[in-house]
């Protein structure tokens, strides 16, 4: 019997040309990364990294080498690199683990209003345990202001979490300045930054940024899904959140995803071998796409900052008078794959909290589309997307009763 999904895919069809620009949510893994993973399924290192046999030790070697690769790129000690199975898990560990281990020191947590939900929701889940959670507001480009943040931190504050780069609108936070003012207010605060959308695009250095914990995720740098990282500085107390049997990761039980780690390690090497060159090219392509779309489509608003304080690969535009989910489907049928911050897309019928936090009205949030490029995109890809987007928006505007005076 043909499944519902299969019938839907058949009705959808496949466009002659496809350009995938939804790399924020997930994406294609480069062949050399897949190749690096393959031996670990059944040739070497297929054992359990904590067991005393050869395939286990081979697996442990992968865990260790991946930890070293991560450590080198964030200015950390490999001992302080802890693996989870996703960025969401690492963020949950950071928030819940620190709060539970340090509750005697205070019960206030400050997170920015534009954090990923895997930071905001675990934090708010602690309200039942007597924690007070405050969302630090951001300006219209998504920046947390130093003075505003300092104002929210007090003696009761145990944890502050501000991401390095916003996952929807690409704002690069001034983390160093933020961690400084937080410590001036309370030197004992543990400062966490979710750097999933910064890694490989913005230089990360734990000491230079003045942070105690950093979250990373493999699939956000074109590695495979299934590996997250929480860096925890020496001396920071974190309580495990999940309980289970032996693992080489005391903070996160469950057998390590060794093939994915091997792929992650290769993805790190690729992301860092031509860091400035690749990011420069990507931001050039992104600017070309941005200028082209904003020139050709009336009533389109750029979400997030312009220039150096926007991450190289992010573009987010609100198209007024059309609804974003419909636009993702329209573009999908044209072979352009993107996502939206609309309420429909979220499946909870609330638009993106990031859009609302930067002061976008509901109807502006509903029409937002996120494009994320990679170093594998070409000018032709960008030009194809830049041709399809105006046509798709125009078609939906013809259907829409809004914006017709």
């Amino acid at each position: 019997m043909t499944s519902d999904v299969r019938r839907l895919l058949e009705a959808h069809g496949r466009a002659e040309r496809e350009v995938y620009m939804d790399n924020e949510n997930s994406g294609q893994v480069p062949p050399e990364v897949v190749e690096a993973m393959l031996p670990y399924f059944n040739q070497v290192g297929y054992g359990h990294p904590s067991i005393t046999n050869r395939p286990g030790w081979e697996a442990f070697e992968v865990v260790q080498e991946t930890a070293e690769a991560v450590a080198r790129t964030i200015g950390a000690d490999p001992e302080d690199v802890h693996f989870t199975h996703s960025g969401t898990e690492a963020n949950n560990l950071a928030i819940l683990g620190v709060a539970r281990a340090n509750r005697s020191r205070g019960r206030k947590i400050v997170v920015s209003a534009v954090e990923h939900l895997s930071v905001i929701l675990p934090a708010e889940s602690l309200e039942d345990a007597g924690f007070k959670v405050v969302r630090a507001p951001v300006d219209e480009e998504g920046f947390v202001d130093q003075d505003v943040l300092a104002e929210l931190v007090d003696r009761e504050t145990v944890l502050v979490s501000v991401q390095t780069v916003n996952h929807e609108i690409g704002t690069i936070q001034r983390v160093r300045g933020l961690s400084e003012v937080v410590r001036d207010k309370n030197a004992d605060v543990i400062f966490h930054t979710d750097a999933c959308d910064a890694y490989g695009r913005v230089r990360i250095d734990a000491d230079a940024m003045g942070v105690d914990m950093i979250t990373l995720s493999s699939h956000k740098i074109l590695g495979p899904k299934g590996v997250g990282v929480l860096y925890v500085a020496d001396g920071v107390r974190v309580e495990p959140v999940l309980r289970g049997a032996l693992s080489s990761q005391p903070l996160w039980p469950g057998v390590e995803n060794v093939p994915a780690m091997a792929g992650f390690k290769r993805a790190i090497e690729l992301a860092f071998e031509d860091f400035d060159g690749a990011n420069g090219r990507v931001s050039g392509l992104r600017d070309r796409l941005m200028d082209s779309i904003l020139d050709r489509v009336p009533d389109a608003l750029l979400n997030g900052p312009r220039g150096e304080e926007r991450v190289s690969d992010n573009l987010n535009v609100s198209f007024l008078h059309v609804e974003g989910e419909a636009l993702t489907v329209e573009l999908s049928m044209r072979g352009v794959y993107v996502s939206s911050g609309s309420a429909c897309t979220s499946r909870i019928l609330e638009p993106s909290h990031v859009m609302l936090a930067i002061g976008r009205r509901y109807e502006e949030a509903h029409g937002s589309i996120l494009f994320r490029l990679t170093r594998y995109h070409t000018r032709d890809d960008v030009d194809y997307v830049a041709r399809q987007v105006p046509e798709a928006v125009e078609r939906l505007r013809r259907i829409s009763p809004l914006g017709k005076g």
Binding site: A326, V329, C344
Partner: protein
């Protein structure tokens, strides 16, 4: 217990989204209505051309415009197809479940699209009679569920917005 979120769309929804029937604004309609709000992310405008026969009114033509997801476009398109040729009384009886069913079965998260379409239709039918200052016996005084739901959605968003709701 099944908690997995179902697929939001069916093949029929995609087909009607790609090639909607009866799309566009109607000039000088005999009845028209809108339901939903831009802030909620879905609005359906419905336009009816009505032929007056011997004591019955027949929907000769129906057209729509939609701001919303692909299911919203498809629900409005499907409804216009379902009501063409029906008397106003017959059209009043069309329930949102029938629209959802005709689209291949909408999952819970998309059902409000078919409710909104039916809400817009019933508003248009009421508007038609109010404009002519008469009320047939079959037309209930009380708002039906689909009309209430459209109204609730519009009011809810106004409450959520508070002072931020722009009127323009």
């Amino acid at each position: 217990m099944s908690t997995r979120v179902p697929l939001p769309y069916t093949p029929k929804v995609l087909e009607l989204f790609r090639n909607p029937k009866n799309l566009g604004k109607m000039e000088n309609p005999d009845a028209a209505a809108q339901a939903g709000s831009p802030a909620c992310g879905d609005v359906i405008s419905l336009y009816l051309r009505i032929a007056r026969g011997d004591r019955v009114e027949v929907i000769e033509d129906a057209k729509f415009e939609s701001y919303g997801c692909a299911a919203n476009v498809a629900a409005a398109s499907m409804l216009t197809e379902m009501i063409k040729g029906k008397t106003l009384r017959e059209a009043w009886e069309v329930e949102w479940q029938e629209v959802a069913e005709a689209l291949g079965g909408l999952p819970p998260v998309k059902r409000h699209c078919s409710i909104l379409a039916v809400g817009a239709l019933r508003r248009a039918i009421r508007a038609y009679y109010e404009h002519r200052d008469r009320k047939p016996d079959w037309l209930p005084e009380e708002l039906t569920m689909a009309e209430k739901q459209a109204l609730e959605e519009e009011e809810l968003i106004e409450r959520m917005y508070g002072g931020r709701l722009g009127r323009g």
